[in-house]
Amino acid sequence: MSFLLPKLTSKREVDQAIKSVAEKVLVLRFGRDNDAVCLQLDDILAKTAHDLSKMAVIYLVDVNSVPVYTQYFDISYIPSTVFFFNGQHMKVDYGSPDHTKFVGSFKTKQDFIDLIEVIYRGAMRGKLIVRSPIDPNNIPKYDLLYQGI
């Protein structure tokens, strides 16, 4: 039983989502619908969305349609997933160089579910940054280049 994840197509819609989703983790997947790794990730998101519906709201965002956000979050690799709670951007230490977003896909649905739970619990306690429960071996590796350095 999967369902189609809702999409946000403009800055206004993304602003709206961030400002209006309350008491649940907001998950924004930045990527492209036809990209291979994005498809993998979207599959995991779609299959877990129902079970996580009490804790999380998931949206897909095409990086081409919201350049403001793509630039703000410095999204160089797709898919990149950003988490919010009550309008606050949630950072997560995955053991990778960038805590502001999750780059790549999750290895299993359970990894994603565990991550959402940790973010949810941390946020309810007022934390703005949490430690990822995912095995560092399962975190995708990538080169972090900041402005070509």
Binding site: D15, Q71, I75, S76, N137, N138, Y142, D143
Partner: protein
């Protein structure tokens, strides 16, 4: 030049040096000009040389990195094929035929290949190593995000959801004036 002459005279008087030497110390205007130009040229030359040196170092570093990457990838190839052969013999049910098990992650070198060197087959050994290889996803790179000075999350810039959008529409709260008039006429 007059200014220069005066200064020299004053310096001579203050330090009571030999008057004869003073004339020899005066720098004529053309000499000074020549000196200034030569200085500019020398400076430009120096800067150019420094730039070249830096570019050279950068190229060398890139080259070294490339060689390192290739060595790692070559090593990975060997380990990948080694484990593939082993697991095919063991036919583990959890082995996913996912997208190309032998992806080469574009990241820095890691110590995980060394873990595979332990002798003796055991069910536990193959599990974690395969997991690592499978999460070596090839991610699509969409380019460096140039913000033209606006800043981004790493520099602490104002987030887009807090910046007002100029969309040209007047945002009125409540009923419009016409609707109010209509309502009061009722």
């Amino acid at each position: 030049r007059p200014e220069h002459r005066r200064q020299t005279a004053r310096f001579w008087r203050e330090n009571r040096a030999e008057a004869a030497l003073r004339e020899r110390c005066l720098v004529p205007a053309e000499e000074y000009e020549r000196f200034a130009q030569a200085l500019e040229r020398a400076l430009a030359e120096h800067q150019r040389r420094e730039e070249e040196r830096i570019l050279q170092m950068a190229a060398e570093i890139r080259e070294a990195e490339r060689r390192q990457r290739e060595t790692v990838q070559a090593a990975l190839q060997k380990y990948c094929s080694f484990f593939l052969n082993r697991t095919q013999l063991q036919t583990e049910p959890e082995l996913r035929a996912g997208p190309s098990v032998c992806r080469h992650p574009p990241g820095p070198e890691r110590d995980s290949p060394c873990a595979a060197e332990q002798p003796g087959p055991s069910g536990m050994q193959t599990g974690p190593d395969l997991a690592w290889m499978e999460s070596g996803q090839v991610l699509t790179f969409i380019g460096h995000q140039e913000t033209e000075g606006k800043g981004n999350i790493h520099t602490g810039a104002k987030p887009p959801w807090l910046t007002e959008e100029e969309d040209g529409s007047k945002q009125q709260i409540g009923p419009s004036y016409e609707e109010f008039l209509k309502h009061s006429e009722q």
